[in-house]
């Protein structure tokens, strides 16, 4: 239904934009789900599984909308399970292996902080279905932020080992943060139509919220000149994504019509 209201020249950029947002959450959700049964303690195992389910739920509505906008009859499952790595548009940040618990927490915190400012703005998107998804996602993300920020502080200001582990994770992940603010012609076309969010002004807000949390967690802000990896938005991924997809996609690819 929404596909008909979109100017033809915006259809492709909007499809691309929805894939970026959906893939971020699909891949991050999958990484979080890898903790299921491996959490450091039962309660945290459940917490991480809940975050994973939130992310996969968000991915599901975003990819469904992408399929609608594309208008080729592809469902959210088609998009999730029958594309190859080169067709995925997620940030490199979310596809990196889950690492230790500290690594997972730092990544979640960096991404949830970005999502906080991003989703706040996206709720005013001129594409109504997207604005609606953003409102629901914003609420869920508030909890993701609260949970990951709390753990960041507990671990950072914890034992010598926990401090060192999260500091290492932070230093390693910092080179994947610039990509969150990547924009190209997809964003520009949609920004002119009031659909997409201008990411440039979010960077300062993001950095200031991150800095505040790091200070509380007694962590050092990483070197700002560290090399910044990019490519996810245009399909150039790390070697990790292929392995992730192999595991995530094997069932529907082996048994395409499998039902519960």
């Amino acid at each position: 239904m929404s596909a008909q209201n979109i100017a033809p020249e915006l259809q492709q950029p909007l499809f691309e934009y929805l894939l970026r947002l959906g893939d971020d959450r699909l891949i991050l959700g999958h990484r979080l789900s890898e903790w299921c049964g491996h959490g450091p303690i039962l309660e945290e195992d459940i917490a991480l599984a809940n975050l994973a389910l939130d992310c996969i739920g968000q991915a599901s509505v975003l990819l469904k909308e992408a399929g609608t906008v594309e208008g080729q009859g592809r469902s959210e499952d088609d998009l999730a399970y029958f594309r190859d790595a080169i067709d995925f548009r997620n940030l490199l940040l979310v596809e990196l292996p889950k690492g230790d618990f500290g690594f997972t927490i730092v990544r979640q915190f960096l991404f949830s902080t970005f999502s906080y400012f991003f989703l706040e703005k996206l709720q005013q998107s001129a594409h109504k279905p997207l604005a609606g998804i953003a409102a629901k996602t914003f609420k869920e993300n508030l909890y993701h932020l609260r949970h990951s920020r709390k753990w960041l502080v507990v671990l950072g200001d914890g034992t010598e080992e926990s401090h060192q582990r999260v500091q290492n994770a932070l230093d390693e992940l910092w080179g994947y943060t610039e990509e969150m603010f990547y924009m190209d012609q997809v964003d520009e076309a949609l920004m002119n139509a009031g659909i997409a969010v201008d990411l440039q002004p979010l960077k300062e807000q993001w950095l200031s919220m991150v800095r505040e949390a790091l200070q509380e967690a007694t962590l050092e802000l990483p070197d700002p000149d560290v090399y910044q990896h990019q490519g996810g938005r245009t399909g150039f991924h790390t070697e990790h994504l292929g392995h992730l997809l192999a595991e995530m996609q094997i069932l529907p690819r082996s048994y395409p019509d499998a039902r519960w």
Binding site: L42, E43, I46, A47, R146, K150, W151, V154
Partner: protein, 103 residues
């Protein structure tokens, strides 16, 4: 259990918190179960994840389990026995006079 060096193993379990959930404003908080957590904020978050994600919840309390003072089984007699042989404590002990309606 003692280790080789005869140092008692550290208890790696976090403290236990009892969780009380209120479904609607004005209703009593009811005991839902317990969680382990290193502090109050994480106890609240864990309680939310374990006990409040599916049903409708208005508020949660978490209380350090060690701060709950409880009776023990040996208190059964002195604490709870008397009621049974003092039947005048029950309303049905009293006969309702004829002619009284709307009681």
């Amino acid at each position: 259990m003692a280790t080789e060096k005869n140092v008692p193993e550290q208890d790696t379990q976090w403290p236990r918190w009892e969780v009380f959930v209120q479904e609607k404003t004005g209703e009593p908080h009811q005991h839902a179960g317990s969680v382990h957590a290193p502090d109050g904020e994480l106890a609240l978050q864990n309680a939310r994840d374990v006990y409040a994600r599916r049903g409708k919840v208005y508020s949660i309390w978490v209380v350090p389990a060690e701060h709950i003072v409880a009776t023990s089984p040996s208190d059964q007699g002195p604490f709870f026995d008397p009621a049974e042989d003092k039947i005048f404590r029950y309303p049905h002990f009293y006969k309702v006079p004829r002619g009284v309606k709307n009681l």
